[in-house]
């Protein structure tokens, strides 16, 4: 009852104070910065213990009614809060000092600590680096900003997922991406398309075991903690509106295909294909008639529009942040777009004695994503393939000048561009998503120094996938029995509901006595997730209404396909029976853990954590796992011998710990029942139902274990004018999830089991230097970060030295990197006969290709070096910010070039202009084999393995801030306009559009990430 009473009393007192006793007097004053004495607009001035307060105006002035003896609390973000006791005077001018410690907060998701006392290797990104970017995905904007964090975006589809690797790849078959936590809620790391980057306050990347061990079985690949914006206690209403408009474009590419003249002459020269018998006059006639650049037909500039409105305010005990977002981005090819709406409401509140705090973070998002089909595949509806295989001597227009989307109407190769256009224009491939992320938290200091806390979080995703082939489209018209049946077309929908619950209870003791500073917390955490999927596939649609069920042809419709008047017994003459599916998967983890932190004399810090996790994945084998860490740090700058040194910060850190990876097959819901023996029903003998053993459970299965050692230094010189950190680490993954050979008497040859070891060692560096700093003049700060990571397979199953795969990068060898190409070396073209040449295993040249001649190339699909650099500058109202990112020592197979240089495809499709260098007679020295030589691109050679390293001007923003012009405006307090370019320039040896990928081993006409130009405006009221 005590709490309730206090609450009531507080409320009562507030009324009493406000209404019974009018303020005695009015005081005024000016708030300035201590550094340069300039006025500070927007600072919060509150009467302590009340909800009364206001903000300073543009001249830093305030006026407030007070009683004698009141205390004014003056605060501003980034400044130290000051308190002034009201006496006899009526003017109180306050100078606020910079608070460098404020940004130095470390959020681990469970605990929040002062950076001075931390022992962990973490990197924190502030809102400015991610929030106004015209990129639909939060993950993609982090590229190049955190040393050791590799973001690979493999597609330019708006909202596309990125693959995220922290400190190298730590698993062969398991999950390799870090855990993402938004406002305390663990969320799907592959789905950010629906989330609004404007809502982000900061991002903290937890790299070493001291922080990630807190996440136990989910922390093996590090943790990325995202915090969204909240209101600030005791500030007035602030309204911000931000809008951007712009276009995205395809980047330049390093190859070209032939035009009509070149193609027809080439065909004649090699004596095969269309026009091979043509005379010059005939070639000219055909080529003049049509010389289509199919890129012009399939690609377009994609428009981007965004609007974002946010409102924040706070009283002394309550604050809110509300935002509303709209984002629309068209891809650079037809039928590719993303549209989304976002709502967010973040609320924080506390009791007046500061003992009880609570908050809610709710975000509701809806997105609609239209996709191209068969991205990155050889299917002829892939719009990034079609322009390069489509023949240039066909016209894209009908006789009346309209776009031809039918061609011959057949699904033949010549008709490829028309079929692809037909598919784009008539058919649908769309996903609609509702995503809700919400959390509620509360904590209460119920005994002095002892705080109990509770948090409940939810990540809810509902996705509706829509796939429709119009019965009149080229593909749709052959959907049922190859076009034989009366009704055609396909309408398929899939529904996915993914709900992830998270519940955290904690108890914390924190105290400071003398030079001792200690806190100790214990937690229990409950995680449970449900994936429900269902869907249907209907073939046979009424062409009038094919989008809805009303147009579905009933399943009992008899189609007399063989014309015998009888229904076939095998059901083939009932082709319209729809296919349906329904499934549910559940996974869960229950954990308890404790963290102890101790600091002595602000110099020596120690932290230790132990976590016990029980995973439903290992219910029948190793249910409970123990993960732990110990770490320490030494604030050297606080030692007396450092007095008077230029270092304002110098800290040595070391940590060691063990984390786990329970997602042994990668997916969040994968291997949910791998410890169980299972049966399945299927087609049995003679069209009956049969029961089959479908899985042999592994009763010894467990998580993959990562043991990480980290040593680091943080430093700051000359009042943090120059600051940075250096880290070195070793990460060892044991118990890798791989195949164990078993006797065929089990009805299988392998069982998935925990075997083998992988090691990542590396170093990271971050530097920041404030070159010029003048609040009203020229400011320039430089920043750079970089990392080195070496990956090595250190142990393979059953003690073997080498496991050879049949693909380009799936062979494994002890001492080699994961993802290293194992290939036959290409030796060029034999000048004598134009045949391809290879090196055999001993380095001798041979015309015979054999997989036995494969060698290790020391080229991997994962990079060794990664990083970014740039500068932030401002002069008066102007700002110019750049951010470069780079990735080096990374390779990929360029399958796109392989296709357009394939000599066996020249009669069928268009070819690279490089084929104009084809070997023609003995003695020719060239890199292109003779016409009619065998195809090389699908052989395991290094001919198309290319260096995919790149340096990219990832982001550049030129802005102007109208603060000077607006200083007397009472309505608008800020206007900023900015011109922004994303991916403006890329330097790379890669011969495709885009050297960046999702760390795939091969490119095949993939959707490149685009250049985006936007003009934006930012208004504050």
């Amino acid at each position: 009852m005590k709490l309730k009473l206090t609450w009531l009393l507080t409320l009562f007192m507030a009324f009493v104070m406000q209404f019974s006793f009018a303020q005695e007097k009015t005081v005024t004053g000016t708030v300035t910065t201590a550094e340069d004495g300039l006025p500070l607009p927007g600072a919060s001035v509150i009467v302590k213990g009340t909800a009364r307060g206001q903000q300073t105006d543009f001249d830093g002035k305030y006026t407030i009614g007070v009683n004698r003896g009141d205390v004014l609390v003056i605060s501003y973000v980034g400044m130290k809060t000051a308190e002034v006791k009201i006496g006899a005077s009526s003017t109180y001018n306050v100078a606020l000092a910079l608070d460098n410690a404020l940004e130095e907060v470390v959020v681990t998701g469970f605990t929040t600590g002062n950076k001075v006392k931390t022992t962990s290797a973490v990197t924190t990104l502030s809102a400015e680096t991610v929030d106004a970017r015209p990129n639909a995905s939060i993950a993609a904007t982090m590229q190049g900003q955190v040393p050791g964090l590799n973001i690979g975006t493999g597609s330019g589809q708006p909202g596309a997922n990125s693959v995220i690797l922290l400190r190298g790849i730590g698993s062969i078959n398991g999950n390799v991406e870090p855990l993402f936590v938004i406002d305390g809620v663990p969320v799907d790391e592959d789905n950010f398309r629906s989330l609004n980057n404007n809502d982000i306050a900061n991002i903290t990347v937890l790299k070493d075991a001291s922080a990630s061990a807190l996440y136990g079985n989910r922390g093996a690949n590090g943790v990325i903690v995202i915090t969204t914006k909240t209101g600030t206690y005791g500030t007035g209403l602030a309204i911000n509106y931000r809008s951007q408009f712009g276009y995205s474009f395809l980047p330049e590419k390093g190859f070209d295909v032939m035009n009509s003249f070149q193609k027809l002459r080439f065909n004649r020269d090699i004596g095969s294909g269309f026009g091979s018998q043509f005379s010059d006059a005939e070639i000219n006639a055909v080529a003049r008639q049509a010389n289509t650049d199919w890129e012009d037909v399939f690609f377009r500039p994609g428009a981007t529009i965004s609007h974002n409105l946010s409102l924040s305010s706070g009283t002394e005990l309550f604050s809110t942040f509300t935002s509303l977002g709209y984002f629309e981005q068209n891809g650079v090819t037809l039928r590719s777009d993303l549209q989304r709406f976002n709502l967010r409401s973040n609320i924080t509140g506390k009791s007046s004695d500061n003992k009880f705090n609570y908050g809610t973070n709710l975000s509701l998002n809806f997105s609609k994503n239209n996709f191209i089909q068969n991205e990155g595949t050889g299917n002829l509806s892939n719009p990034f393939l079609v322009p390069y295989v489509a023949l240039p001597y066909f016209s894209q227009y009908n006789a009346d000048g309209s776009l031809n989307i039918v061609g011959s109407g057949l699904d033949t190769f010549d008709n490829t561009p028309f079929t692809a256009l037909n598919n784009t224009a008539l058919n649908t491939n769309r996903e609609e998503e509702i995503k809700f992320i919400g959390s509620v938290n509360a904590d209460y200091e119920f005994i002095k120094n002892v705080t109990a806390s509770i948090r409940f979080g939810l990540d809810y995703t509902y996705e509706r996938g829509i796939f429709i082939e119009d019965p009149t489209s080229v593909y749709g018209s052959t959907a049922v029995n190859g076009g034989e049946a009366e009704f055609q077309g396909t309408n398929a929908e899939g529904y996915t509901r993914d709900v992830r619950f998270n519940n955290l209870l904690g108890l914390k003791y924190a105290n400071t006595f003398g030079k001792h500073d200690i806190d100790f917390s214990v937690f229990t955490e409950y995680n449970k997730s449900y994936l429900n999927t269902s869907g249907f596939t209907q073939v046979g649609l009424n062409p009038k209404i094919f989008q809805f069920g009303t147009g579905f042809i009933p399943g009992n419709t008899f189609e007399d396909l063989d014309g015998d008047g009888l229904a076939a017994t095998d059901g083939t003459e009932f082709p319209y029976i729809p296919g349906i599916r329904l499934n549910e998967i559940k996974v869960g983890i229950f954990s308890y853990f404790g963290v102890l932190r101790y600091t002595f004399d602000n110099k020596y810090n120690f932290q230790s954590s132990v976590r016990r996790d029980a995973s439903s994945r290992f219910a029948e084998s190793n249910r409970w796992g123990t993960f732990w860490s110990v770490s320490g740090s030494w604030n050297v700058n606080n030692e007396s011998f450092m007095d008077g040194s230029d270092f304002n910060n110098l800290k040595l850190r070391a940590s060691y710990g063990v984390t786990g990876n329970d997602r042994i097959t990668g997916g969040y819901y994968g291997a949910d029942d791998a410890t169980f023996d299972l049966y399945a029903q299927g087609s049995g003998y003679n069209n009956t139902v049969g029961l089959f053993a479908s899985q042999i459970g592994n009763k010894d299965l467990k998580w993959e274990t990562i043991t990480q050692t980290n040593i680091g230094i943080d430093f700051g010189l000359w009042d943090n004018k120059f600051s940075g950190s250096v880290d070195v680490y070793e990460k060892v993954t044991d118990d890798l999830f791989q195949s164990l050979p078993v006797s065929a008497l089990n009805a299988t040859n392998t069982l998935s089991a925990n075997l083998g070891q992988l090691t990542n060692t590396g170093a990271e560096l971050t530097l920041k230097y404030q070159l010029f700093s003048n609040a009203r003049g020229f400011n320039l700060s430089l920043f750079a970060n970089g990392s080195y990571n070496k990956n090595e397979i250190t142990e393979l199953p059953n003690g073997v030295n080498e496991v050879l795969g049949t693909g380009r990068t799936n062979s494994l060898k002890v001492g080699k990197q994961l993802g290293e190409f194992f290939a036959v070396r290409w030796a060029g073209v034999n000048p004598a006969n134009g045949n391809p040449l290879y090196y055999d295993i001993d380095g001798n040249v041979t015309e015979t290709f054999s997989n036995d001649n494969r060698v290790w190339t020391d080229k991997s699909i994962y990079p060794t070096y990664q990083g970014g650099f740039g500068f932030n500058s401002s002069y008066k109202g102007f700002t110019l910010d750049t951010q470069f990112s780079f990735v080096a020592d990374i390779y990929r197979y360029n399958g796109s070039i392989g296709v357009i240089e394939d000599p066996t495809l020249t009669t069928l499709s268009n070819s690279s202009t490089s084929l104009l260098r084809t070997w023609t007679q003995p003695g020719d020295i060239t890199d292109i084999p003779r016409a009619g030589s065998p195809s090389v691109r699908n052989l395991l050679t290094d001919r198309y393995i290319e260096d995919a390293s790149f340096l990219r001007l990832r982001n550049i923003v030129l802005g102007y801030n109208f603060s000077e012009e607006l200083k007397d405006n009472k309505f608008i307090s800020g206007i900023k306009v900015f011109l922004q370019a994303e991916n403006l320039i890329t330097w790379s040896k890669w011969r495709g559009w885009d050297p960046e990928s999702s760390f795939r081993n091969s490119d095949f006409f993939d959707y490149p990430t685009t250049k985006i130009f936007t003009l934006g405006v930012d208004l504050t009221f």
């Binding site: 009852m1 005590k2 709490l3 119920f446 005994i447 109990a452 509770i454 519940n503 209870l505 229990t524 409950y526 995680n527 095998d570 499934n583 549910e584 998967i585 559940k586 996974v587 869960g588 983890i589 229950f590 029980a614 995973s615 439903s616 219910a619 249910r623 029942d673 169980f676 023996d677 299972l678 049966y679 399945a680 029903q681 299927g682 087609s683 049995g684 003998y685 003679n686 069209n687 009956t688 139902v689 049969g690 029961l691 089959f692 053993a693 479908s694 042999i696 009763k699 164990l740 050979p741 078993v742 006797s743 065929a744 008497l745 089990n746 009805a747 299988t748 040859n749 069982l751 059953n798």
Partner: protein, 470 residues
């Protein structure tokens, strides 16, 4: 302080509730062992699963390609060429498939047999239950029989190594040494005894195993062991089943006549796909000139049954151009989709004849037995042959067997069984013109299959057959 207590209590309650709920997740959407086999009808479905894993296509492939009844076809783009060229090592796919699929079938049978012990059976269900169990034991026996024929070096040496006896569902990491022939024969016979005691006295559907199949399998095993009892087993079935006349014989391969069928395997996928691209009916393997010459010389109903002279399925064959299209699985419901005739009474005649030569030295009896088949195939009375010596008699039995059982998964094993007396594989010169060797000598190690690499990976200590390096 009351609210404090409530807060704490609430926390503990949710803690306890939470714990088991998150980690006790059973795969409710899957068939776990405890709910899979609960009734006799579940066992019936399990049995259906075992039959479905009887991949006799692997036998048909190996026996036709590795011996002398096929040659590379006009549309061959490398399909089965290595097998045709007798490239055989531990990692070879077709021989590995034989090992894997029969052990998978045995594993499936063992699972249902073990589960059957836990099923409550009412009196009305008893007969059905027994018949299911009988079929399971017979299926387990026939799978072991097939494995034994490929993996033992010598059928007649009881102490030679056979394959592995799998009498139960193993613990997954268990590995097993090979068993001796003696143990293997004993195990198969014991399963057949069990099957015989459980199976229904009569079966109406020849797609399912009955008593006659067990008898036929006993005859096959007796043949491997030169055991005279095979003659009486064969005689039992000869007395019961008529040989098909020429019309019935043609219809049998069109799936419309079962006169001489003892057991057939239902199929709804294209068996003919072993030799054909079934979409285009392009043959990548064809019947050999060697086989064609033998069939052409006999010139009875078997020529047209084995070689396609119709216009369907890419036909007709053109013998003068050495184009011989295999016609044993022409398809009934769809092209190339035919049931597999897994045991026919004519095989019993051939077993009887072979044993009459080898065990009884009854050359005249053997000639009479063969005459029965020839009379049936020609539809007329053929001349009785007189043999000068047992070798010639055996060669004639083998010649008849080659025609009668071509493309039915027997040829390689027949040569293996009699190689000591008749020699190894000799291909017609035209058949091996495309490359590779024409002769595989009687002493060649490749008449015994290698223990597959996948098994060696699991159990490096297993005994490999002679001639193969691991």
């Amino acid at each position: 302080m009351k609210i404090n207590n409530k807060f704490i209590v609430l926390m503990f309650v949710s803690l306890l509730f939470a714990c088991n709920d998150a980690i006790e997740i059973n795969p409710e959407d899957e068939f776990t062992p405890d709910i899979t086999f609960e009734s006799v009808s579940d066992l019936q479905q399990g049995l259906s699963g075992v039959y479905a894993q009887y991949d006799f296509e692997n036998d048909i492939t190996f026996n036709s390609i590795f011996a002398d009844n096929t040659k590379p076809g006009v549309d061959n783009g490398g399909q089965l060429i290595n097998l045709y060229n007798w490239v055989l090592q531990a990692g070879e796919g077709n021989s590995t498939a034989i090992w894997n699929s029969y052990y998978a079938m045995i594993n499936a049978a063992n699972r249902v047999i073990e589960a059957s012990a836990l099923v409550d059976v009412s009196d009305e269900e008893r007969a059905t239950f027994d018949n299911i169990l009988g079929q399971l034991y017979a299926l387990r026996a026939v799978a072991h029989y097939h494995l034994h024929t490929y993996y033992t070096t010598d059928y007649l040496d009881d102490s030679a190594l056979s394959s592995i006896i799998a009498e139960r569902v193993p613990i997954v990491t268990e590995v097993f040494p090979r068993n001796t022939n003696e143990a293997m024969y004993a195990f198969i016979n014991q399963d057949l005894d069990t099957a015989q005691s459980l199976l229904a006295p009569e079966t109406s559907d020849k797609g399912f195993i009955g008593q006659d199949f067990v008898t036929g399998l006993r005859a096959r095993i007796a043949l491997l062991r030169n055991d005279a009892s095979g003659i009486s087993f064969a005689n039992d079935l000869i007395a019961k089943y008529d040989l098909a006349n020429p019309t019935q014989y043609v219809n049998m391969y069109l799936d419309s006549n079962d006169t001489e069928v003892i057991f057939k395997l239902y199929r709804n996928s294209a068996v003919g796909g072993i030799w054909y691209f079934t979409n285009s009916a392009g043959p990548f393997m064809e019947a050999s000139n060697g086989l064609y010459n033998v069939l052409n010389e006999a010139s009875d109903v078997r020529l047209n049954v084995n070689i396609n002279f119709g216009t369907n399925n890419g036909g007709p064959s053109v013998p003068e151009d050495n184009l011989h299209l295999i016609n044993k699985y022409p398809g009934s419901s769809a092209p190339f989709v035919s049931n597999i005739k897994a045991m026919r009474v004519s095989e019993m005649y051939l077993i009887k004849a072979e044993l009459q030569v080898k065990v009884q030295n009854d050359l005249e009896g053997a000639a009479l037995t063969l005459k029965s088949i020839r009379d049936a195939r020609t539809g007329t009375s053929t001349a009785l042959v007189t043999y000068a010596n047992p070798t010639l008699a055996l060669a004639d039995v083998m010649n008849e067997r080659r025609m009668e059982l071509a493309f039915e998964g027997q040829r390689y094993l027949d040569i293996k069984r009699n190689k000591a007396l008749l020699g190894g594989i000799t291909r017609n010169a035209i058949d091996c013109a495309s490359g590779g060797s024409c002769e595989l000598g009687a002493s060649d190690y490749r008449f015994t299959l290698p223990i597959p690499q996948v098994e060696i990976n699991a159990f490096p200590g297993i005994t490999q057959n002679p001639g193969y390096s691991n």
